[in-house]
């Protein structure tokens, strides 16, 4: 076994302890809970429209996901583009 593999295994103890602590803490205190309004509200949506355009390529990356992936972090707000009355939508 290489020294890399050994160190990785040694981290299991602290990781396990921390994981258990926070899992139990959340179970008791429920600090991670709130109203899931995204799914619990009656929403009637028209079909989603939109466009997509290839703008580049990435080669030889080791990351498994795009940097800053927030596709399921609905509540994480990004830059808000406001209509100023001139009718322009968000810049593409």
């Amino acid at each position: 076994m290489s020294s890399d593999g050994g160190f990785w295994l040694l981290a299991l103890g602290p990781v396990g302890a921390t994981g258990l602590y926070w899992a139990l803490h959340r179970y008791y205190r429920n600090t991670d809970k709130s109203h899931a309004f995204e799914h619990e509200t009656t929403v009637e949506a028209k079909p989603v429209t939109g466009s997509e355009k290839k703008i580049g390529e990435v080669t030889g990356t080791r990351a498994t996901r795009i940097d800053g992936d927030n596709v399921s972090a609905y509540r994480q707000r990004v830059e808000r583009v406001r209509d100023d009355g001139s009718g322009d939508g968000p810049p593409s």
Binding site: G13, Y21, Y28, R29, N30, T41, T49, G60, T64
Partner: protein, 436 residues
């Protein structure tokens, strides 16, 4: 300022200059100049009517007394576990009028334009008092109701029951009320069941003092919002084109190639009955200082079954006064609408298997309709001893029975358990490493 060279400019009169977001914003609808002095088109815009308010004040309840439609007695209660009102004098039973049918709140969401505010959701007048005094028509005595915590009182002389039915501008009277359906015994059983699953690491004092029979039925104030909106979201997405490994043995590493796309999405949608806390204190969800998120979690309610305001439903229950108006709640609504929009478009970007990074979003609110409502919550609370003194709630939805709570933990027990588990894992790891 000592180092200015020229004379300092005179202070600008209020309302002139660019203003600053750090300043107190003017009240909605207020204009700093006399509209009569302005050119026609501008004046017309300013003097155009404000958002329509639907009048939900019940004329027949103005005197503060709810009379039985059969015998005229005022001793009226809600029959527990139902939406039915019962006269304690003649046992006559009747059902309150549903707000959905009475005011058409559930209809025409896709036609909404502008901001429609029902009369119970109007702005709160700053000078409106919480204490209201009624003159008893039975005996002439004066009876006071503190609308901060209660909406009914009994005349101490002739036992007439009074309820606050008039829509006073202090925000205490909503448009509608959703009566309790879960009985107290049910709520107690649910709370007990909830805590029984969380005893091992619970604070000792909490367990010793645990008396779920002390649960209190509270009507909490909410704004129920319908809306018609469009949202545009833009960002970048990646689709994997190739996956390959380089190196051998322990040095073997996986690499990816991907195409980058500019992604734009637009969704038009309507939301029906989105509940927002209209008590500013309850609306603050900060788990480091409160456990309000517990009460937030038991949302939503079957608000379609709400009945027109009648204080008789509140007899025997506490109530909390609303202190936020439409304008204070609008940022939270927009935030939630954007979150809903993001959830709606998620399926449409599933082909981007390396995910999407949304960078810009735009919300266009075409129309909203606001209704103030009291929603029923069974609330058990426990104040943790100590300097921070966090109040832990266990809440039961008074309609659906959904239960959520915060049980204080005994920190040393939890730490000990975590350390024990960590040590156990570490011993196994050391054993494996040592044996190789």
């Amino acid at each position: 300022m000592s180092n200015t060279t020229g004379p300092t400019p005179p202070p600008l009169p209020p309302g002139i200059g660019p203003g600053s977001p750090q300043d107190v914003p003017p009240a909605p609808g207020r204009f700093p100049l006399d509209p009569a002095t302005l050119p026609g088109p501008i004046r017309d815009e300013i003097l155009a009517p404000d958002p329509v308010a639907i009048d939900t004040a019940a004329a027949e309840l103005k005197d503060g007394q709810n009379h039985c439609p059969k015998c005229g007695a005022t001793d009226i209660r809600q029959r527990p576990g139902t939406d039915v009102l019962i006269c304690l004098y003649c046992r006559n039973e009747w059902h309150g009028e549903g707000v959905e049918e009475a005011f058409g709140f559930g209809e025409g969401i896709d036609q909404l334009q502008g901001t429609v505010i029902s009369s119970g959701a109007k702005d709160i007048a700053a000078d409106a008092a919480s204490l209201m005094t009624f003159k008893c028509t039975g005996c002439g005595a004066e009876v006071t109701v503190n609308t901060q915590t209660s909406m009914t009182a009994r005349c101490h002389w002739c036992r007439h029951v009074f309820g606050v039915n008039e829509q006073v501008a202090n925000g205490a009277v909503p448009d509608a009320v959703l009566p309790f359906r879960i009985r107290k015994e049910d709520a107690v059983a649910r709370i007990r069941q909830f805590v029984d699953k969380r005893r091992l690491f619970a604070l000792k004092e909490f367990k010793d003092q645990f008396t779920p029979e002390n649960v209190v039925g509270v009507y909490l104030p909410y704004m129920i919002v319908d809306g018609k909106v469009s949202a545009d979201i833009a960002g970048q997405g990646e689709i994997k084109t190739r996956e390959y490994t380089k190196g051998t043995g322990d040095k073997k590493k996986t690499y990816y190639d991907a195409d980058i796309y500019q992604v734009d999405r637009r969704v038009d949608f309507t939301v029906d009955d989105l509940p927002l806390e209209s008590s500013s204190e309850r609306g603050k969800l900060d788990t480091s200082v409160n456990t309000n998120n517990i009460i937030n979690t038991i949302l939503p309610f079957d608000t379609k079954n709400a009945v027109k305001w009648n204080a008789s439903y509140l007899a025997g229950f506490n109530s909390e006064k609303r202190d936020s108006g439409v304008e204070q709640l609008r940022p939270r609504l927009e935030d939630q609408l954007l979150s809903i929009a993001r959830a709606q478009v998620q399926k449409s970007v599933s082909r981007f298997d390396r995910g999407v990074r949304w960078e810009q979003e735009n919300l266009d609110v075409h129309g909203t309709r606001w209704v103030a409502m009291y929603l029923p919550v069974w609330l058990y609370s426990y104040q943790q001893p100590g300097p921070k003194g966090l109040i832990h709630y266990i809440a039961v939805n008074g309609r659906t029975g959904e239960t959520m709570g915060s049980v204080p933990v005994q920190q040393w027990k939890l730490l000990l358990a975590a350390l024990t588990a960590g040590t156990f894992i570490e011993v196994i790891v050391l054993f494996i490493i040592g044996s190789q």
